[in-house]
Amino acid sequence: MTTPVVELRNVTKEFHGNPAVKGVTFELHAGEIHSLLGENGAGKSTLTKMVAGVHEPTGGEVRYLGKKVEFSSPQEALENGIAMVFQETSLIPSLTVAQNLELGNEKFLTRLRGLWISAQQFLQSLSFEVDPTALVSTLGAAQKQMVEIARAVRHNAKVIIFDEPTATLTPEEKYHFFKLVNRLKDEGVSIVFISHALEEALTISDRITILRDGEHVITDEVKAFDRDKIIGHMVGRSLSNELYGETKVQARQSRPAGKRMLSVQNLSMGSIVRNTSFSIFSGQVTGVFGLVGSGRTETFKIIAGVLKRDFFHGGEVRLSGRPVRYRVPRPAIRDGIVYVTEDRKVEGFFETKSIAQNIYSGLLGADLNQKSVISYSEMAELAKVWTDRLNVKTIDNDSKVIELSGGNQQKVVLAKALVQKPKLIILDEPTRGVDVGAIAEIHEVINELANAGLPVVMISSYLPEILALSDRVLVSRLGRVVEEFSIEEASEEKIMYAAVH
């Protein structure tokens, strides 16, 4: 057995006395793709950041090429051949691709023409189709990822760590990405792949390591795993069937459509939403599937007043038969249309405020508070009711939302929307960045809402989720709803076919 490229021996990392990683041993061999899986907060990012020099371990040792190393900065790790491609890209948007490739070793004087040419040659050699003179801010997510990777390759990285690289990519971009990763592997680069997408991990990896609560659970060849096993190891129990099991989908009966709550005719906004028309009925979950850029989020943001449709020929939205046009979300909320965002950190919760304050803010926003002044007792009661109902796990309701895990944050954002007594609720990617346990609970809430007769719209990019929850599926493509299925006739293949063709 050859010495592993990277070896972590019994490493531990504590933040303010709270261990994020506890005594994990991990080996990465030359030329392998090693997936690191686990729920949110399982310690995947922290573990790899110790390899990449972002964090220093509080216990244990990191060995690289057989020698003990202590990198004090990502820069030092990079110089030694370990590159980490972060979730949020670390490129400078206002510089060009070529300048970003050069970042960190610029000369005192730079001749741009020479820079373009060498960058062009370099990108060609990787067969990346990115214009080296383009500003990074004009690139799509996949191209940015390519530039990041190119930067890592340029530094002759022997180890590249990808932290959730595919979260923002469209299927087509993913395909390119995986091809590239495989080529890097053929060149002898070792790759660590952190992901929430289990199918991707199963197709691409050689070996898989699963972490849970900062501890190592299992490492094995990819052949030894399947979806259920992985989830089982991740959560320590078998949740897969409960969540997305075949039997459950097969046995589902769609809820009958209630009255038509919302009808949309010819809605348009610029080139993102183009003459889309559809209806939403009460008492059922309408799943909306579409690839990134298909205008599904924008369509529903227009309905909720977050975005504005075109002034001329913008189309028509009718809420219970009455035409509505909102300039801001406030009147939409007063009419009962509540939108729960896909990006909770940017437009979901108030990070300096506590759980209770966040939920109460929702109540205030809808003008449903009992007293005209701020009532701290009303707030505490409300928070107690909703954190119990949604099972938000926290020590007390005065903890700041920013300190919670992704799943609990999402539950708070959901509670904040539900206290507004919605008549139509739009959930945009309700389980993005949420751990498996919380997904089940959120799904349960969604079903309860629909059973209670509410029209629920659920936008999701995850087909099993669409199939497990929806009664009716709308497929969006190029700014328009192009296909509608009842759950009985829908299948992953049919939906995907409609979304791409």
């Binding site: 803010s361 926003g365 904040k416």
Partner: protein, 328 residues
Amino acid sequence: MKLTGRLKNVSQEKIVFTITLVMFAVFALTLDGFIGTSNLLALLRSVAVLGILGLGMLIVVLGRGIDLSMVANMAISVAWTIQLVGTGMPLWAALAIGLGFALGMSLITGILVAFAEIPAIFATLAMGTFIYGFGRAHLITGTDVVYLPSNFGWASQIGQGRLLGIPIPIILAAILAAVVYLFLRFSKHGWNTYNIGDNTQASRITGIAVRPTIVLQYMLSGTAAYLAGLITATAVQSMNTRMVNSNMIYDVILIVVLGGVSLSGGRGSVRNVMVGTLLIGVLVNGMTIMDIQYTIQNVIKSLILLLAIVADSVINPRDEQTGQQGDI
């Protein structure tokens, strides 16, 4: 380990408060007459105007804005009031017109920031220049300095009077502090001000009327400016419109920031402003008794500010989490 654990809870507000107490103790021991009632009242009296402006600024800063037009608004609206009284207008009418002018100007500022979405720093900078220029060209005729006419009546007590031996400016500042505290803590608009400063996008989606609330914030700071102006003018029997060109607005920002109010919005309270105001009050009063030159005083003031900020960044280092969102 234990020490750093305890230090973790030390906020900038506490650091500044400690510095204030230490300086107070040192001055009390070393300077003659510092601890006397009359000097302490003079100390508070000297920062009352600054504190009132700071309270107005606090509301705007909490909503992720900044109001650089406060001093211009205060100088011109009050100078106009005084001039109107001088030309024979009844006092109450002149006061109402002056307040109306201050509110009108801050309404325009608010609309520029909230509806036209001009960054607050540019909108208020331009409005400050506009108010001063417009006021000097069309409202205040003659000199830079408008003197208080003898028929200013009861209103001249605002700056000079005493109630139970306490100068009225101190009482007004205390009342305003209480009002702003109640506004921020118990009114919906105050609550929404924090939410908007914390996350404007989320506020919008939550159904908060973001734009009207922002306009309200500027109108409240305009009101505070007018009150501060009345105190200043009646205390020194005149309103010198040249104060617009002084560095007073920076002093206002100084006390707000010094107390630990975050310029990126959503963090801070009345207590922070009071702490910042007290520090400047004690410092300036002590230095004045020591007979330190005005220019040197400015140097010392700025060094204290830097010290407080450095202490804060050493004790509460920015980690990955907080580093994501930069100040301003």
